[in-house]
Symmetry: C2
Subunit: 345 residues, 2 copies
């Protein structure tokens, strides 16, 4: 491995000159620059990342903190992670995937932050009240959240615009003529734990339905196919003439579809289904393919990283707060309701 000294010697200049050629921190004449560049090429020189990081106090490494308690990432999260990795790589940063124990491991987090390995971090799966955020802030690490806390004062975040997403989804169904729409949310425990997406979509659903003069019927469901089945059964018990299901639960939605088929109901002729915050790949797995509110997973990853890097490179300490809506993608699982009951109620 050639070092800067080797390059300097070969080019007959000082080390600092080599450094300035590399960083552009000071002007260098064309002639000198050429000499140095030639020497670098000849020696196949690559700057040592650790040395650079130590001297400049910038590691050019970003941390992606993800909770590891869950049983694996969903398609949306995966898209987010790869989008973030690609974006980081594109701007010359490295991205460390750092699984952190869910919640309890605050000390571990602080230790991580104090090692000065990360120039900044992206924190995933933020809860409404999240002590990790304050821990990280106190450690002085530049921070971008995915999701957001209740109080976002002085914080940078990127999140899904759940209100807008739900509004559009409901508008789509109502526009098709649906009146009996049931919302299948995450489980009651998840709601109770303060999981932002579940709470925000719940509120948004109530608002949207009420706005259309309709009754907001909501059913919780476990994150599993069985949970979806059970939820659909519960939905029919409560609203026998439902014609549409809005689901917030990638896993449960397939159970819903299965249960629908088992009951001899066709999608979309008897019941329309919209799956929210869902990736196209998953949507295509169903037959018919699911109409979804497509999650901007990869874009969110990119935007989060770009915001973080902008904050690091630029001197400004502006906060980046952005909400991204999910895009309605109409596939085969939604249609006008078959006029079973023309006007009853």
């Amino acid at each position: 491995m050639a070092t800067m000294h080797d390059v300097a010697r070969l080019a007959q200049v000082s080390v600092s000159t080599v450094s300035y050629v590399l960083t552009g921190a000071r002007p260098i004449s064309q002639a000198t620059r050429a000499k140095v560049l030639t020497a670098m090429a000849e020696l196949d020189y690559q700057p040592n990342a650790m040395a650079r990081g130590l001297a400049s106090r910038r590691s050019r490494i970003l941390g992606l903190l993800l909770p590891m308690d869950e049983r694996g990432l969903g398609a949306t999260e995966t898209a987010f992670v790869t989008g973030a990795a690609a974006a980081a790589s594109a701007v010359g940063y490295h991205l460390v995937l750092s699984p952190v124990g869910g919640g309890g491991d605050l000390d571990g987090l602080r230790r991580l932050a104090s090692q000065r390995m990360f120039d900044g971090v992206v924190l995933m799966e933020v809860q409404l009240a999240d002590e990790r955020v304050t821990a990280l802030q106190q450690a002085g690490v530049p921070l971008v959240l995915i999701g957001r806390t209740g109080d976002t004062d002085g914080l940078s975040y990127v999140d899904i615009d759940f209100a807008q997403t739900v509004r559009e989804a409901v508008a789509h169904l109502v526009g098709l003529g649906h009146r009996q729409i049931v919302y299948v949310n995450h489980s009651a425990e998840t709601l109770a734990s303060g999981y932002g997406p579940a709470l925000r979509t719940r509120d948004a659903f109530v608002t949207a339905m009420t706005g259309h003069g309709l009754e907001p019927v909501m059913i919780p469901a476990q994150d599993s196919a069985a949970g979806g089945r059970a939820a659909l059964a519960a939905a029919f018990a409560r609203t026998p003439d439902l014609t549409a299901v809005l689901a917030m639960n990638e896993t449960a939605v397939f159970g819903i579809l299965g249960e629908l088929t088992a009951r001899g109901l066709a999608v979309p002729d008897d019941v329309s289904v919209v799956s929210m915050v869902t990736s196209p790949q998953v949507a295509e797995l169903a037959t018919p393919a699911l109409t979804t509110m497509t999650s901007p997973g990869s874009a969110m990853g990119r935007i989060a990283i770009e915001a973080l890097v902008r904050h690091l490179d630029g001197a400004g300490d502006e906060r980046h707060q952005q909400l991204l809506p999910c895009a309605l993608e109409i596939r085969g699982s939604t249609a006008a309701p078959r006029s079973r009951h023309t006007d009853g109620g």
Copy 2:
């Protein structure tokens, strides 16, 4: 941020003594150790990762090189990545997710390797003939492959035992009484490009079927639901009385299921389906849930990292070569064939 000097001053010892307390490279008396530890606690000292990396020439960072050309990772790859991240974190290493341009970007790879940022790397999606492997070897980076090249001499790798996996899958179907089994593989282009899993399962399928005295019928399919549909149509054209499908293509298998339903055929009563190298989460999305050869994604990630770290920490330069079979998990998509043709040919 307190430094080692601060700790040394407070504990009234030299910096090197503090270092020895930390690394254990030399014996330190109980009394001194206690003084140092107390000082560290008082100052809330955390060693600087960059400085340590520079001085020790060990960054404690591992690279996970994944091709970024594809449209996102599947569930199996995701499990692999998270498994690797968890394993790295457990042994005190960091894991950098490094998307590298597929194939052509050899120079970028070399540059990456020369930066000495990674103590070692895990290379995913290895092709049968993969120049990235030699590039990395020449750069002198400790390396573990996921998948394997044609010639694995002197290389460490972890891969799926495709031969064993296919043998078990076929045995399962044959054991149920199936005789007309069609194998749906990846696309012809993928085969032609030298994609190991596709080639190895192809060969294994021929061997397994021939071993049972059966004819190995194989159909390629694009990696999409539509591809699965087309493949199934082709399969029926070629083998009208097929009773079982063995699929090597997580995406296509859902198209196959859809097409089966469209043709009025029930799973598993009319046609049994086994999906290979598939995660349980995906299996549960289908109705009925798919019988799979479950991919050991997370375990592979863990094993790869552990092998790499063992190689780094231990002095030994033994190679780690390991094949992991997929486990047969019987769910609802396989059953004995309905005796449509009792014995016909």
